[in-house]
Amino acid sequence: MSEEAKPAAAGKPRRGIGKSLLLTFPILLWSLLMFSRTLMQPGAARKIAALAALALMVTLFFLMVRTRQTFRWRRVFFVALGFLFPLGFIYELIALRGSMSIPVERMLAGDTPFCFLAIPMMILPAALTRTIIFPGSVLPTASNPHAVSLMVALWLGATLVLGKGWCAYGCFFGGLEEGFAAVARKARLRHISPRWRLVPWAVLVAIVLLSAAMFQPTYCAWLCPFKAVTEYPEVNSLETAVQTGIFLTLFLGLVVVLPVLTKKRTQCAFFCPFGAFQSLFNKINVFDIRIDRGRCGDCVSCQRSCPILALDKQSVEAGGTLLSCMRCGACVDVCHKDAAVWHIKGAPVNSAPEKARLMYLYAAWAFAVMFGGSIIANALEKVVGIFV
């Protein structure tokens, strides 16, 4: 947890093993379905990796059900996803091109793998001119299987069901920060001005407007910290050197150093425009986290535990979170009075919070198995392939 407060859920009675297994069964079936194709393909490394990923995902879900805790088990998956994604991705880039950098001619040929972070920038140009301003391909090709259409469809489906939960169960970049945030035992920087929470919205407005003006995804070209661990333009001019310098500085500052110092996901909380964009979908999501004011003792442990500062005094007094809540469950796990609860909109607060949690987790984990699980299996295959 962000402040490593003792999880209150640890004091709750554990669910029985039989009932936990029964509740895990649907996820086991889903995972078998998702990994069945990989398990039937030839190659020992592939089979071992798929089995390991399957076992990891099912075991973590079982533990979430049995212990009634969400955050700590989700974090295991999420950090694994965050660190294994670049590993598998860089391996494929080097196998394909011999380098992490992408030459201009490959960009012009539409060979840039599509990343969901570009979605907010594409909307205005696509709506106004029916043009996709990303140098990738709309449909999968032999040289670029990461097509725009696949990722947009996946993102849209997940977003309608999970809202900003995408940032806690799907975003393969957030896991890196969550991993670095878990390194230190205590935060060295504790007092963070709430003003910084406005920056992602400002970056979002700036990049959307500049992308429409310049007809290029400006965030990808200039500001994405994760270019440092995925792929970046070939450094062959002053401009590309500046771009690479920005990528590296933002990555080291926001994804490595500040999460270690603050124990927060600083890039997500104070910079990521996609996270701000994704927050808007919480408005149409049926799940949310509520604070039962009748039970709340104003201990502020929920506020301290949130990795992205999505709770403050005003929001707690109003009985909920800020729009930026990503449903990671940290505040619920840490609340000793069971005041922070999972909730389905329209139902009374604290009516059946565990049922609401399980309903959300089924959806979130099904998506996590399909998307994150396959990424983990793919990266593990590369690692296992070294030995087998």
Binding site: A202, A206, A213
Partner: protein, 213 residues
């Protein structure tokens, strides 16, 4: 008459492009002051007046120089490098000194500077965004350069401006966002990010100019 109809059509047709080009500055500049619909309309009119001044000065340049100066890459780099740097400076002053933002009060020295230049800042932003070369602007400049007199060139640009400005009118709706908490502060931070962007563009343009003596 035929010439003015051409100017109006050119302006209307290229309006979305002009809006996309000015949008990054115009939209946050309107939102940063936290004014209602009436106040935002006032700001927009001041901004557009500045833009008109930019258009007219460009028409004078186009008519007098027959587009020779802006067509030369080194002169163009110098002109737009200076324009981008001036725009960056104007954005910083405008963003840091905007008044209606209790979440992030402006430094007092900047507020006093802004008080002195307040009537001029939106106009300066309009003027500086008006001074740029986009394809329809070059076409307008070329047609203006062909006219026989300076008033005719200026009138051509005036009509062209009206055609493009119509597309900006829906932006008055930004005033409706005033009630949303944090909009003005977000707009101010956006302006600072854009200031960094235009400063970078200006520095790159000037460094190119002085490396090609």
């Amino acid at each position: 008459m035929h010439l003015f109809a051409e100017a109006a059509l050119l302006g209307l047709a290229s309006g979305p492009g002009c809006l996309a080009s000015c949008g990054p500055v115009l939209l946050p500049a309107l939102a940063a002051q936290g004014k209602g619909l009436g106040g935002t309309a006032g700001l927009l009119s001041v901004f557009l007046s500045g833009r008109l001044a930019g258009y007219l000065s460009f028409s004078v340049l186009a008519w007098a120089a027959g587009l020779a100066a802006p067509a030369d890459p080194r002169s163009r780099a110098l002109l737009f490098g200076l324009v981008d740097l001036s725009l960056a400076a104007a954005l910083v002053v405008y963003a840091l000194a905007a008044r209606r933002c209790p979440a992030a009060p402006a430094p007092s020295r900047l507020v006093s500077i802004e008080k002195r230049v307040r009537p001029w800042t939106p106009a300066a932003l309009g003027l500086l965004t008006g001074l740029n070369i986009c394809p329809p602007f070059v076409v307008a400049g070329a047609r203006a350069a062909e006219t026989r007199s300076l008033p005719a060139a200026a009138a051509f640009f005036l009509v062209f401006f009206v055609g493009t400005a119509i597309w900006s009118l829906p932006l008055v709706a930004v005033g409706g966002l005033r009630r949303l908490a944090g909009v003005a502060a977000v707009a101010r931070i956006t302006l600072l990010i854009l200031a960094a962007w235009y400063a970078y563009l200006g520095i790159m343009a000037l460094s190119w100019r002085f490396s090609h003596v």
